[in-house]
Symmetry: C2
Subunit: 463 residues, 2 copies
Amino acid sequence: MYGIILAGGSGSRLWPLSRELYPKQLLNIISDKSLLQSTFERLAFCMPEANILSITNTKHASNVKMQIQDLTKNPLVLSEPVAKNTAPAIALATKYIMQQTEEEDPVILVVPSDHLIQDNEKFSSTVQKGEKLAQEGYIVTFGIKPDYPETGYGYINILKPLEIGYKVKEFVEKPDLKTAEKYLEAGTYFWNSGIFMFKASVLMEEIKKYAPEIDKISNNVDFSKTKDIPFIEFDKMPSISIDYAIMEKSDKIALLTLESDWNDLGSWKSIYDVSNKDENNNVFVGHVIDKDSKNSFVYASSKLVTTIGLEDTVIVETEDAILACKKDKTQDVKHIYETLKKQNDDTHLVHKTVYRPWGFYTVIAQGKGFQSKILHVNPGQKLSIQSHNHRSEHWVVLNGTAKVVLEGKELILSPGHSVDIPVKAIHSLQNPYQEDVEVIEVQKGDILLEDDIIRYEDMYGRV
Amino acid sequence: MYGIILAGGSGSRLWPLSRELYPKQLLNIISDKSLLQSTFERLAFCMPEANILSITNTKHASNVKMQIQDLTKNPLVLSEPVAKNTAPAIALATKYIMQQTEEEDPVILVVPSDHLIQDNEKFSSTVQKGEKLAQEGYIVTFGIKPDYPETGYGYINILKPLEIGYKVKEFVEKPDLKTAEKYLEAGTYFWNSGIFMFKASVLMEEIKKYAPEIDKISNNVDFSKTKDIPFIEFDKMPSISIDYAIMEKSDKIALLTLESDWNDLGSWKSIYDVSNKDENNNVFVGHVIDKDSKNSFVYASSKLVTTIGLEDTVIVETEDAILACKKDKTQDVKHIYETLKKQNDDTHLVHKTVYRPWGFYTVIAQGKGFQSKILHVNPGQKLSIQSHNHRSEHWVVLNGTAKVVLEGKELILSPGHSVDIPVKAIHSLQNPYQEDVEVIEVQKGDILLEDDIIRYEDMYGRV
């Protein structure tokens, strides 16, 4: 069996903890592993690690690779140059597996990367049943038996029982409350978990039939050289979900009830719902001091958050933005996110802390003509050999021992030592030792942009 | 006429904007002037600026002086080495005025520094009436006609009308709600504003009679050399309020109704009450994005604060602490403050930004063995000539031109230039020019304490 993890995602729902460049699947809110990492481990429960493929957007590829690298040696990550929804991603990932495998017609399990499922054994038992159905030629969906009339999910209506699971009658979109109540009463409607399974040949046949354009473009992509999907092909793809493209049209759809727990973590309220509460039904994460609050969720990531007498309220604190929201309105966070995006406010896009293949950096101060960061370089890692056209840089080593090459000259700097890097000077920063290196960087210049960087050599292939 | 501004105050009620070392009277929440500055201007409406004396704790003296210096040339500030409540402060300030003045028996007006009164003309008209009563030998209190049964204030009960104002029957402490309702109904009870007036001789006579210890110690203090009250005398003072010491005992107390507006700004709720509201009865200060909130107060001082669907809620954001509080519970902020104090959490004590006579600094990063600040040096100002026993420092100039003297050698540094200051090296930083100077400082060392500073010369007398 093979697995495809859909690791795209926009990062709007759990803002300000999620950002466009650091979406939900990369966060570890619920446990010490991220949702992506937990998803990987869940699939590894059902199939060999080497058979698990993640597909994500180019902008998340390095973070996705880094996270999966913590779990397995050779992470398999395809990256898309633009976002085109799920149908093109699944078609291409399926093609990739068909090209690589020695199996004649592999069964493939497709899962979102940002849902919470904690019972891997029950999940695996549903997957095993699904494999049988998939072998019979069905595209198998995993449905959740609803226990209340949720209006935020799509539903799947079943037609009749099969030997295992059900034959599906139709897919229906997010209903209004009245309709959702009818669905609940009818008993034949299930929430669509976005998880499904198929034989590669079956899916590609249906794509050929219902989305021939996607099939045609997929056939032109050559994966022999790189796992980065070329823009020139992919940009022609229609932007369409697998549900619209195939599921709502095909007559080969079956449904299995997902036996494990499941939560899509689609809002801060759902994070609250799955978290352990204290005696006043509060969830406090980080440095929180409270007096008399009830039924509230407070997440402090960098500072002290104090709360008094709150009820049904969500507070999320990050280094550059704070959210304070009534708990039953947390789905409106996406409006705030869109507002920020429209206002060109970077707060929707990145955190003050940004992860890089060599470690991470945190912006600690910004002002007229300057910016200051702390660079954290992991052992054995090295920033690219680079220069800047518009800024000088000044480094002071805080911890560890750094190797700096400046215009061909090598310097070994211990804590308290510093170096000036003039505009246009070619330089690199390296941590060749076992201890983490921390450096304060002061950038000076009239133009201070991340993309004012000319890379000459990079151990992570970013030249 | 002379004036005494009581400029002590602990900074607990408007935390996290107020801090122990930056209390309420120094804040400019309501206007571009601080409450202390507005108080000074109000008194300057009634008397010559040179007759206005502020008395404060040593730890606030430099901030109090700096703020009053913005309004008048030679600020008169007495500083107390320890906090001993209002009676000793008023006795000493009165003694000081008696020693300095050429008037035989001056009338003195005493006011808190942290209340809001916006109508200076009406205030001044009450003060003029008060002067007449004081000349007749009364200690005149200023009462506020209550319009609801407030339980947070002390009350003054009147006995009978005088030609101007009333003779006072008794002072009563903060009542419970039932008692406050009775007071309101009776019509003879007024809120105690903490403002009063007297002839110097009358007050000192009453102090001699009811608090002879305070009188005795006051007579031993010699103001001829310094305005810093010596610890050895002052520490012997009983810690007692003027109300307990004199007002509740003396039979010379009169009351005038304060004709102006008045608000003690004793909680975030009262700040909300006096602020201009938008169409949804919200008050937003700073970078706030809201959706659907009502009757709420949001104060963003450094970051983006986003709010959704809040009702009757107060959010106050500062660089190192956030408060989220139900609006009718804002008096509980002092409990949070006390908790922090007990936990030795500096968040009750100082801000990340600390004001100094030469400008201010902001802590931008702290970590193992290092701390980084941005120093902001005002034109013409100079930090003391100093050295440190446990840390090296590293300065990078961000804006302006800095003059640095290091071990006797003078350096002129423009933006982007830097200097290393080794442990124990004698150094100083100066801004001799017209433009503000900004410098990033990186401190390195195992011990990083503000008081690891040996001062050799200081233009603000701090050696």
